[in-house]
Amino acid sequence: MDIDKVFKALADPTRRRLLDLLHRANGQTLSALCEHMDNMTRQAVTQHLQQLEQANLVAVVWQGREKLHYLNPVPLHEIHARWIAKFERSRLDALRDLKRTLEGDDHDKT
């Protein structure tokens, strides 16, 4: 898969918000996702989801007549594995925990 597509898909606050929504509750329908996307048409949300799907950041499963969207973290894991050395992980976790404690959970999540 094209890594450029992954970064392009991530370079948009709406698409990151969709990934956040799926991270919170995986396997949602378009309608369920639209409820959280204020002032946005169904078509616009569909287009963003398609871009996420093409980047392999969202996987789709049909459950009967419902199309469910899942966050697929595999490309993100590949980015992680590419640049973060194993011995750095515990220190990075400690830094993230500290930042979270000081700033709260939702800070800078746009």
Partner: protein, 159 residues
Amino acid sequence: MTKPDFVYVTYIATTPQKVWQALIDTDVTRQYWVDPSAGCARVNVSDWKPGSRWEHRRVVDDANTADIVGKVIESTPGRRLVISWARPTEADDDSRHSRVAFDIEPYVDGLVRLTVTHADLERDPQMLAGVSGGWPKVLSNLKTLLETGHALPHSAPAT
């Protein structure tokens, strides 16, 4: 199948047969399933016939300790493998088992699309937390192994 808890997709430049082999052949599994350099390689052992038992075993362990066990539900070589997934202590309690499906499909440009679907994990919330971080690692190791012949780049030991 009930609504899946997780769906993981990866595209690998290889053949469906090689992906299938990597799922069922212990010699291949031990190279990627858990970081082999961490000295805790795991293999999946079964005859992979529908109805047979399978075990996820530790390699460096004379006792062949199994961490996960289950039954083979569906087995179509090169296409689809479905297994149940349980703690060894709950092997006989179907109500606690979750279910994993591996779907292997040829894609364009010599790529194979591998989809791993894990369902019924709400029966065991602790297991849900445990496996959610594990699959992306397993899949990205598998992809690296099949595309380069090595599971992981050499990295410094953990501190």
